[in-house]
């Protein structure tokens, strides 16, 4: 149970949330000078130390928070991450993630991290069990699926692992984000468009259809796409959006038909290329086709990491590991936080017997994934609410 926190801690929190690291650290120390028995302040300090890569200090602060309150979940998270990033402390890491999984049993990330700690300690069976547990809790947990794919690669090589990577990629929201970036559909608005009330010009319909597709309202989006195609059957953008929606509904041939048509109509249609490449990649034996399309897409949008990742996966399927490595490397250069590229790079490194570098890439992927989730603040806020 969390105790009330002081005004100084609240100040430190505000600064930490704004990523003003130094003033936040100073505020934490000020709070602790007044009362050293505030788990909130120690947990915050641990998170701040972690952000600055001061792992030993993060470990000390998080340990102090847990000693003061064994139910302080954010401190377990900071402690586990500090152990992981410091390296060489897998035994402590396993204990911490185990504890966190007990303190917050439905916290998927705790099971994923526990699996990663087990894997680093070469407890492969236990690692796989942890990732499966994570997927039981959340079947869309991409990182657990990536880890299972890496485990499959270690046991049975790339051909067995590659479908797992692709499956994880489908769970990973970054692939859908690529499509919507290419289609110029931004984040979802608060109020979704009503397909019956959209202005009857092509651009309004297409945009509204894209927004509805992003919100998984495929019926509404399909009505609008149909309206566009009824007026202009050779609208490549509408065809590509239709292909995307068919892909999301596992209708591979319908998707391929629409995507082929989109690319036939407009060879420069990047959304068409995306849908066609994905439709090809889903079929066994078409890695060469997928690679060709994704190479064209990567050339058309060179600054987006995901086409390079998709190209790399097709290269893996063709056993062109050096080319896959170059493409993954390019994706990581473009976006160091690209979890899918990091896991892919780890897979290629494993094919080169470079296990330590592969493990490092997986650790970096874990770091960015956990950071992206904003999990510390989620746990912290729950902890604060629990005490008030």
């Amino acid at each position: 149970m969390s105790a009330d926190r002081s005004q100084q801690v609240v100040l430190a929190e505000g600064l930490a949330r704004q990523e003003q690291i130094s003033p936040a650290v100073a505020a934490c120390h000020a709070a602790l000078r007044l009362d050293a028995r505030q788990p909130h302040a120690h947990a915050l300090l641990a998170e701040l130390m972690l952000a600055g890569d001061f792992y030993d200090e993060a470990i000390a602060a998080a340990t102090q928070a847990i000693e003061l309150d064994p139910g302080c979940a954010p401190a377990y998270l900071a402690l586990g991450l500090a152990y992981d990033r410091r390296g060489g402390m897998w035994d402590q890491s396993i204990l911490v993630w185990h504890e966190l999984a007990e303190v917050v049993p439905d916290l998927v990330t705790a099971h994923v991290q526990l699996g990663e700690a087990f894997s680093l300690a070469a407890f492969d069976e236990e690692a796989i069990d942890s990732w499966r547990r994570a997927l039981e809790l959340d079947p869309t947990e991409a990182r657990a699926m990536y880890n299972l794919a890496v485990a499959a690669l270690k046991r049975e090589g790339v051909p067995t692992a590659l479908p797992g990577f692709r499956k994880a990629g489908e769970l990973d929201p970054s692939q859908d984000e690529l499509f919507f970036d290419l289609a110029h559909i931004g984040p979802l608005p608060r109020k979704l468009p009503d397909s019956a009330k959209v202005a009857d010009d092509r651009d309004s319909r297409l945009h509204a259809a894209g927004v509805l597709a992003r919100a998984d309202d495929y019926f509404g989006a399909a009505d609008l796409v149909r309206a566009i195609l009824d007026e202009t059957p050779d609208d490549a953008d509408a065809l590509a959006l239709a292909a995307y929606m068919y892909l999301k509904q596992e209708a591979g041939n319908e998707a391929m038909a629409c995507a082929v048509r989109a690319v036939m109509v407009d060879k420069t249609s990047v959304t068409g290329m995306y849908a066609l490449g994905v439709a090809y990649a889903k079929r066994p034996g078409l890695n060469r086709h997928a690679a060709r399309v994704f190479a064209a897409l990567a050339k058309a949008v060179p600054h987006h990491p995901m086409p390079h990742v998709l190209l790399a996966e097709s290269m893996m399927g063709l056993q062109r590991y050096s080319q896959a490595k170059a493409a993954y490397g390019h994706a990581v250069e473009l976006d160091p936080a690209c979890v899918r590229a990091r896991f892919g790079l780890a897979a290629v490194l494993l094919t080169e017997n470079r296990h330590a570098e592969a493990a490092w890439e997986i650790r970096r992927a874990a770091y960015y994934d956990t950071k992206r989730q904003g999990l510390f603040w989620e746990l912290y806020d729950e902890y604060v609410e629990g005490g008030e």
Partner: protein
């Protein structure tokens, strides 16, 4: 191949007639189009026509879906083979005695299998006598010895000794593992013909050995 073939395939798909679709595919194949090109020259254009017909309203959603189902039924007739053709090259692979580090071995074995080689994976902790026994049993002329520990790598020479003493002097031994990467002298002292540095390197070296061997047999 007739220019009309994609249209005929499209029509067979829309007519929900898999037999007619297969007949079109077979006629195109009989005209000299290879399996590897059937997908590009026949299936993709007919799918484009199908997409266009759906977009223009020529066929409705139900007909589109039903045509897609028929397309699925005939896909295996047009897609390039997923697995590479059997090369006939037999490769033995195993981790050296007292070495249980199997990841590198597993990855290389899977890559070689995928490339069409006949891979016999002996697993981990394989004694030199087992390598010899399997060479004699299978007639393999390529043996890959994996060792991730220095002591195991130092022992790899025992495989060459065992094969030589039994008269198998023509067997190519390739070694793989961290110690061999770090110290090339270890591979030489083990009597290895080459060092594999990962899956791609395994594919390259085995292909080269197989080509050399085929060249010698032709000569």
């Amino acid at each position: 191949m007739s220019d009309q073939a994609p249209l005929r395939l499209y029509q067979a798909l829309v007519d929900q007639d898999p037999a007619a679709a297969i007949s079109v595919i077979e006629s195109v194949r009989a005209s000299g189009v290879s399996q590897a090109r059937l997908f590009d020259v026949l299936f993709v254009p007919s799918m484009g026509v199908l997409g266009g017909a759906w977009a223009s309203g020529e066929i409705d959603e139900i007909a589109f879906t039903q045509a897609a189902v028929v397309a699925d039924q005939v896909t295996s007739f047009v897609t390039p083979p997923a697995a590479n053709a059997d090369t006939g090259v037999v490769v033995l692979i195993g981790c050296m005695h007292k070495d249980h580090h199997a990841v590198g071995k597993n990855v290389a074995a899977a890559a070689l299998k995928e490339a069409g080689h006949r891979v016999l994976d002996l697993g981990v902790d394989v004694r030199p006598a087992e390598f010899l026994e399997k060479v004699e049993e299978t007639g393999a002329r390529i043996v890959i010895v994996s060792a991730e520990m220095l002591s195991a790598a130092r022992d790899a020479g025992r495989v060459r000794d065992m094969l030589t003493s039994s008269g198998h002097t023509d067997v190519v031994i390739l070694v793989t593992g961290g110690p061999f990467d770090a110290d090339p002298e270890l591979a030489r002292s083990a009597g290895a013909n080459g060092v594999i540095r990962g899956a791609e390197s395994a594919l390259r070296l085995v292909a080269r050995v197989a080509e050399d061997r085929a060249g010698r047999e032709d000569a």
